[in-house]
Symmetry: C2
Subunit: 365 residues, 2 copies
């Protein structure tokens, strides 16, 4: 039971309690209660609560005081129904609750929440393809004002349907529309370059595709950068392995590789994700291969635990990607009516990445 403020006299008792048929939780004030207390119309309350400029300051203060006294908060369902805006943005990703998606969500929340938006999260259940993606979004349609697609492998030629809420894509370059990500090709390049600079000449690749994001272009891009660095100095790849973008996949692949005599193994390994590198660490430890003594390892991402295991990596600003995506989303929501007339603005924004050298890489012995 809320304690009412004592510095303001209740002119009108809360009447909401008396309503019998209401399904609403009892004791909650409605806009009508506030209007009565403040002595204004419901419309004015609505406007005052949303900081409309036209409301006279005096009235605004009275309304705000009344609202505070009654602990009034607008029922979001009612306002959404009435306004047609959901104040909710959807996040769809192949796998929820991974490290990457969590960080991204945090970034999205950083800007969405202060702006009064909720984040609704939806998985693309495991073996999913484009068709399912579309279906999945269908039930989203009237629930969100916009959607953020993360690692949704929609394909570069995908065009957000005009009939649907605006979408912004993270992790993939779109020919048409908004997209956001990092320069994976460059990331592959600097990772490989680091190994080359260290003096390595027998360098392997631990890549592959996650089963839940198998059409993601990141592998190809990172590979292309890596190969370019290699060919710049007249080198070729010394083996390529499939770690399926998971700790376990990296572990298994490396278990097979590291049983070979040292002469047949690469002296350095570039893993497309830190998690695969963790798996490689595990295999190395179990098989008595020393890092970086026998094998240098560089990852990609800068996972939260990478620092503590001393993994050299290419840092990706995941949370910042989320923040940027959120700003794009907000802009898209604001511009939606305008967009309807003109063509879709197209832009692919790249956030900077960074080589982080730690102790898992060293010159070959």
């Amino acid at each position: 039971v809320p304690t009412f403020g004592s510095n303001a006299v209740s002119k009108i008792p809360m009447t909401t309690r008396a309503r019998a048929k209401s399904t609403r939780r009892e004791g909650t004030a409605t806009i009508a209660d506030v209007a009565k207390l403040a002595g204004v119309s419901e419309a004015t309350v609505s406007r005052a609560m949303r900081d409309f400029p036209q409301v006279r300051p005096e009235l605004r203060d009275r309304v705000l005081a009344a609202a505070a006294e009654l602990h009034y908060v607008a029922d979001s369902n009612a306002s959404r129904l009435a306004s047609g805006k959901t104040r909710t943005v959807g996040l769809v990703a192949p796998q929820l609750m991974t490290w990457y998606v969590s960080q991204m969500s945090a970034g999205l929340e950083d800007v969405l929440h202060p702006a009064g938006n909720d984040l609704l999260i939806s998985a693309l259940s495991t073996p999913t393809r484009r068709q399912e993606l579309q279906d999945g979004r269908a039930t989203f349609r009237q629930r969100v004002d916009a959607v953020v697609l993360v690692d949704a492998f929609v394909g570069h030629d995908w065009v957000p349907p005009a009939s649907e809420p605006p979408a912004i894509v993270v992790g993939e370059r779109l020919d048409s529309g908004f997209s956001l990500g990092i320069d994976d090709e460059h990331g592959g390049l600097i990772a490989m370059q680091h190994l080359i600079d260290l003096g390595h000449r027998q360098i392997g690749l631990l890549g592959g595709h996650s089963p839940v994001a198998e059409f993601s272009p990141v592998s190809e891009l990172r590979q292309s950068g890596a190969l370019r660095a290699l060919s710049n100095v007249g080198l070729r790849l010394f083996g390529e392995y499939n770690g399926m973008f998971s700790i376990e996949g990296g572990y298994k692949a490396m278990c097979e590789l590291l049983v070979l005599p040292k002469i047949h193994r690469p002296t350095a390994l570039f893993c497309y994700s830190d998690e695969m590198a963790f798996g490689a660490f595990q295999a190395a430890r179990e098989l008595g291969v020393s890092i970086p003594g026998d094998l240098s390892i560089i990852g990609f991402d800068d996972h939260p635990v990478s620092e503590s295991v001393g993994l050299t990596t290419v840092r990706q600003p995941v949370r910042e990607l989320g923040r940027r995506a959120a700003h794009r989303v907000l802009a898209a929501i604001a511009n939606e009516p305008a967009q309807a007339n003109g063509p879709i603005a197209t832009e692919h924004e790249l956030l900077p990445i960074e080589l982080v050298v730690r102790s898992s890489t060293a010159a070959p012995l």
Copy 2:
């Protein structure tokens, strides 16, 4: 633009498009459209869509077919407004998007989503206390049917206010109401016991409190179990350090400890969380302390990367905790009207934990 099914003939065209004033996204069917197409009343559509038993199968099928043809999905805002049920459960935790909360969310989603509920996530911003908790939940009130409090350090004597949606607490035992967790005291005991069994006699503790969950009772419980194991064999603690439940905190604390000559250091360390153990690993590596040669380390949690770094730990079934919490929530929602009469049912459910021995612990040299 959706392609309509060809095996069913549209008897009535979608009229929704024509409505001019609507703020709703065009092209979306409403219950009225479905009703017309199926030749029944809106009420019947509503009942059929929600699998009410009283609907004649024939009609039910007709409605479902019509709904499918029009790609009809009930507008959640409208149904929420009308029913007073939000079909949303709130998750509040001190820090969102940590490993622990992510796993918990995944578990909650596992059961909430199939049951047609959304999960709304809300942080308890950093330096938060009970009062703020209550405020925080206030804006939640009319948005959720129930709330799950994770590591919310509400205090064992906390009683969920009757005026608010039902709450279930995870990670803390409540005197009155539903709560859920693991036996932290027992966890502390088996962790310490493992070290003792290995032959260690100089055992340190890396504990403390997270700044965002400083009133959590888990530290006290794990410590109490650890001390009990020690005193069972006539031992005392060999130093206690504060790692603030973070990687960095663990790292800093161990940097101070491990510079001491070996003779003054513990031979084994029990960390209250795997993340602190990761920090300890890092410090050990940088200071040339070998694990488990010079120092055995056991953690608590079984973090996703613990296996790959070979950390011995006490496994906590986080995702399963989320699933159980979700079931409790669903039950609470269903029983809420009933609860109003009788007293609050009280129960604290404990999920099993498990010692996982890996390579970070060994007998002292």
